[in-house]
Amino acid sequence: MTVDTMTPMQRVLMTLSHKEADRVPFFLFPTMHGARELKLSIKEYFSTAEYVSEGQLRLREKYHHDCLSSFYYGPAEIESWGGEVIFREDGPPNSGRPFIQSTSDIERLPVPDITEVPALKRVIKTTEMLKKEVGNEVPIIGVVMSPFSLPVMQMGFDKYIELIVDHERYFWQLMEINQKFCINWANAQLSAGATAICYFDPVSSPTIIPKETYLKTGFKIAKDTISQIQGPTAIHLASGISLSIAGELAETGAVGVGVSVEENLADLKAAFKNKLTVIGNLNGIEMRRWTKAETEENVKQAIRLAGPDGGFILSDNHGEIPWQVPDETLVNISKAVFKYGYYPINEPDPKK
């Protein structure tokens, strides 16, 4: 079989149920590439829902990947508290000066009304526009920052680590605020037409915090938050490792997990088999200099290691393709998926 016989939605759903679809689905998240497509600056591109919706649709036409994304940029959520967003010409916007300067600021922090935040309203509008365009044929992935990882932007990474270690009361107070916000934000995106939510939670990775801390914090928060999100959720650790917390991740209620290139894909597939769909793990940083042959080889290897028996969606390792990755490389990834991704995929390599 060398042609698609399923819609992207059917393919993804079958994969999530740990069965082999017609081929391995692939999720590309070229968040900023739509700007290039529309010949706009990144800042202009993110200024209206129409641009992002058009960009996403054009990119899918070009790369034929199995999802659309309504994600703009991480600091969009920070705008809800009046936080500053700093745009640059060659990469994703950053959050500016943290607005939590001392632990006592946490006591005065409100739960923002998401319907009043221009940046979030644009995301909702984009989701609605995409849904109108593709209906139930293509999954639309919405994104939230986890309550546990959002403080990196709210207060700075160093101060946040100190909060976790030294100020338990304020930490839980902040988590309560962030959790309410996160659940509202996720459910608003689902109501607008998102099929699933990507719960971005890099701080929960053992790359960032020890497992014993995760069990007392990020794990509990994820489990409780995901149970209140009214749709399927995948946890993304944004390049962070996950093997040593595989069992716990599977207990959070998520259906998928974004995995790191720093761990072996076969090991990851074995650890999450029949529990969570593995999403990953092409190296987005190296990708900017991949040749056509390297691209094909990396895609082929990933598919062969993790594709059998379903439960695998090919994607990058971070959940966002860097601006520096050429369009041609993304086309080559797509071509390689259509060359090697059809089931059954364990056939011997014809070249060998």
Binding site: I86, R88, D90, G91, P92, N94, S95, G96, G156, F157, D158, I161, E162, I164, V165, P206, T207, I208, I209, P210, T213, S239, I241, S244, V261, E262, E263, N283, G284, I285, E286, R288, R289, N317, P322, W323, Q324
Partner: protein, 210 residues
């Protein structure tokens, strides 16, 4: 002091400030700061850095360890103390990046290693050039998290070459870990795999220059 080293590593990884400080104070006799740095502090920080690279300890533990040690060394060897290693002149910066944790950790570790260095904070290429000329910096460490910021190092290096500046560039951060070729692509002089590794790399360059 292998057993003491082990105890110090355990105290640091479990973020036990009191235990870590007690271990060092027990061995301090008023004039052996550099011996303690060399025999206790540096090996402990290097081991913790390696354990992070291997995925055994977490970044939060690396950060807290570096802060705990920095506090203590600052007591024994206060900032500006002539005993600190201030030559060749060096500085640390984050180039057009808004993520400062990596720099904070490297800063703490280098200070815990007895170095005196300037902290430029977040700077542009133009500001970096101005500062390294004004301060006669011979070694510049740059920490990055974002790929675009890492790539800007190439622009900095070209401009340095154009101005005939010989400052050595040591780079590090996530993009360099995910792409082992990147430090060469941006024409840096060296890279470090983790924050503690930067101490090792710096020691090598300092030795070469002095």
């Amino acid at each position: 002091m292998p057993r003491t080293n082990e105890h110090l590593i355990t105290a640091l990884i479990s973020m036990n400030r009191t235990a870590a400080h007690d271990i060092i104070r027990q061995h301090y006799n008023g004039k052996n700061t550099f011996l303690l740095i060399e025999q206790l502090v540096v090996p402990a920080l290097e081991t913790i850095g390696d354990l992070w690279t291997e995925g055994i300890v977490a970044l939060s533990q690396v950060y807290m360890s570096s802060r705990i040690i920095e506090e203590l060394i600052d007591e024994l060897l206060p900032p500006g103390d002539p005993g600190r290693i201030g030559q060749p002149k060096m500085a640390i910066a984050v180039l057009e990046d808004y993520h400062l944790l990596g720099k904070r950790i490297v800063w703490s570790i280098l200070r815990a290693g007895g170095y005196e260095l300037l902290d430029y904070g977040r700077v542009t290429v133009a500001e970096t050039l101005e500062k390294i000329v004004a301060d006669k910096i011979e070694i510049l460490l740059i920490s990055t998290l974002m790929l675009p910021s890492a790539l800007r190092i190439k622009d900095l290096k070209s401009e340095m070459e154009r101005q005939n500046l010989k400052t050595r560039l040591i780079v590090g951060g996530a993009p360099f870990r995910f792409d082992e070729m990147l430090w060469r692509d941006v024409n840096a002089d060296a890279t470090a795999n983790n924050a503690a590794d930067s101490l090792k790399v710096l020691n090598g360059i300092v030795e070469e220059l002095t």
